[in-house]
Amino acid sequence: MLPQSSILIMAPVVPARIDELRRLLDRLNHQPGLADPANPLVPFGRFDRLHLARLMILEDPTPDDIAVYGLAPASFPASLAVFADCDGSADAFLGEFAQRAEAGLRQLFGCCHGFGSASDVLDFMRRHRQPSAADYVNWIGRTVRQIREEAALHDALAAYVDANAAALAGEAPQAVRQRLLGFVTAQRQAGAITLTPPEPTPAGWFLGNLLHLLGVPLLLILASPFLLLYLPFFLWQLRRHETADPEILPRPDPARRAAIAALEDHDVTNPYIVCGYLKPGLFRLSLVVFLLWLVDYGARHIYNRGHLARVQTIHFARWVFLNGRKQMFFASNYDGSLESYMDDFINKVGWGLNLLFSNGVGYPRTDWLISGGASDEQKFKYFIHRHQIPVQVWYKAYPGLTAVDLLRNARLRDGFERSTMSDAEIREWLGLL
């Protein structure tokens, strides 16, 4: 199994060149916000280990919000942000990226501080990498290659079933399965369908992952006496903050919302990113660092098989601290429209949203960290709209496929790798088509 890596490169833009950069980014698209996979500047489609990428000008949407705490605004400068989610190691991908997209990257980074004509693209990217506090991958180990092969398998089988509907209708489940097995075997022999076996798991990653799997609970067990002792004080502090923290929830600016919406819904999946200040003080900072440490653990070891709690529409997501942990962003790639994504947030994982987002300045008031907050549906949506940042360029290696499609296709493939299936199992399996 080949695990996935997340990459983020962030470089401050020279203010005088921000419009030039914006025009340059537009040239990568063939639809508003949607990258042309074959564009000559950054030919995303040529990287066959690249799942998702985005190039955007990351600008703080709410630089002055911290003033509600009597603090002087101190936001980060507008930066060019390059996101990538890829199969295998980040270093290997970056090397390939720097090589094959050098001309385009040179022009893009040329609008940033500290990049000159003599600068080395790979070196610049390495120096400007920004780590995630937590990463989420819908299905750890599912590669771009596997996704494409399984999608082709699904499409071929669906077409076969359509073409032979009358003949298959009278057949018993086992006979239908035999016919489908025969069809796929023939297609594989003819080279029309390929099902590459999974790559071996890198030994270093396997060991590191195992240590992480065991190490975090061990640390928690060791720390539990102290955590328990601290709990009453923590709850007292929490309530003190929760009842005093100001909300900042004005109606969103319709022009800003329309500008972001114009970039959305061109594929069945959309990119998403919200950014804001963390509430000041050590209490909130340590809380969010601790929670993200747990989220990262959960994403690596618990929620790595098609769903993040009840949400089955997120492909990749990440939480990143910015500006010396004064600010952070959450970026994701989700299926459906923003309205349905926000409704999923509210109705399915409101508790989880509250845990993390309630540490952000202006969030709707929570009670005991998990209740309230997002359940104030309209105010929560105002908060989201206000903190959302437009994504100028977004690339997805498998247009038109949702995370649920990927799950369905993988299950369909599983049926070909099993020697026997009961009638009931076959019926369920055929339901995937």
Binding site: R310, R408, R427
Partner: protein, 502 residues
Amino acid sequence: MAGSAMSVSPEFSDIQGIVRFGHRRLTAACFFLLRIVDAAAARRWLAQAPVTDAVQRDAPPDTALQVALTAEGLRALGTPEGIVAGFSAEFIAGMAGDGNRSQRLGDVGGNAPAQWGWGRPGAVPHVLVMVYATPARFAAWRDEVTSGMWARAFALIGCLDTSDLGGREPFGFADGISQPTLDWERSGAFDNVQLDYRNLAALGEFLLGYPNEYARYTDRPLIDPAADPSGLLPAAEDMPGRRDLGRNGTYLVLRDLSQDVGGFWQFLDRQGGETGLAAQALAEAMVGRTMDGAPLVPLSRGPVAGIGAEDHGPPNRFTFADDPDGARCPFGAHIRRVNPRNADMPGGPGGAISRLIRTAGFGRQGWRDDLVAPARFHRILRRGRPYGAKLTPEEAQHAGAGEERGIRFICLNANISRQFEFVQNAWVMGTKFNGLTAESDPLLGNRQPVSGCPATDSFTYSRDGAVRRRLRGIPQFVTVRGGAYFFLPGIRALRYLAAMNG
């Protein structure tokens, strides 16, 4: 105490009748789309218009009149921008206000607003006047409504006529069977997780000024008492220092849907040979009910909150819980899309541990489990009427193009983006609804390509045998010819708007 506020009886005399009644007895109706040409005259007409309220009378009236305004209409009437800005963003932007909205609503290709007869940018009506009566009284009532200041106040964009098809829509199916039941007495607690589907809806889902399913008040214009010196408006429940312009009002979505009845039955008849199914059986699979309105799934054994066991008309007491494979009612059937009848949580044992496990996203049964959003946040109250002459399926076999028929689709909701737009986008036009792919609503779908999929013109259904069947190349049967978002004010709010001097 919260309890005392909840026992107040409903303010039926301030609510427009259409919220409570479909005026089914008043089988003659037409809907005027108007532009305001003289604001003062329009205000005088509105001030005196005999708008029908929601009070139930011993002798039901022979006539009814309802009035609604678009955001442009409010402005044309002289409503200050500060008040207009208090309405929802989607109401202000309008149904055809931007490309992203049109994309989400499926208003692209043949449905694109540029081709609409009315409601496209530049042709948005200001006022909707809905005139209902018994056939005998209709002409006189219409003349009465359009008298006085009418001619000076308004320019006519169009008059949407309707016809009485005896409770059927033009394809021939019984229509308007399933409606949410409003919790007029405000007896329910709606903010908790609902583990069963229920058809009882918080009043705030369909009227502004009341708590919604999240037990919150949807934003609407709240007015400084100084701007209401005559005290026409009630105080806002959630903000007693402000007057509530939204109270007892709601949003009205009107879409003019043209139905190709000939094309529908002729296509299904052609499929008959290949599928071995009669056209009617295929049509019923697409709808999810028989033509007479019986659902394709069995009725629930237990009660469903908000659906009486002895409701008159076609049966409606069912959910899809007993049809998890879509064997009886296809996943993509119209009634399954527009109201999936699910709960807030996927099904499972009732214990606390099991609930915790399901909250954490585990214990799902099958790959389709929990893909669809909880239904209760996405309900609409339908008040549409068909138009055009009746055409039976047999007659439709020989029908040529030409004669227009369809539905003046009307729905009411307090939050257009969460209710109408969500249902239209995620469920009706959604090509990935409930794990499906390459298909949208079999009746309403626009068949337009989406990314990675050249056409969304399929419909998947089950017959005997282990393998599903699929129709392909389904033409577009329903085309949008116009549409707009209106505010249907409470009667006091209407008088307030009419009394303003612009």
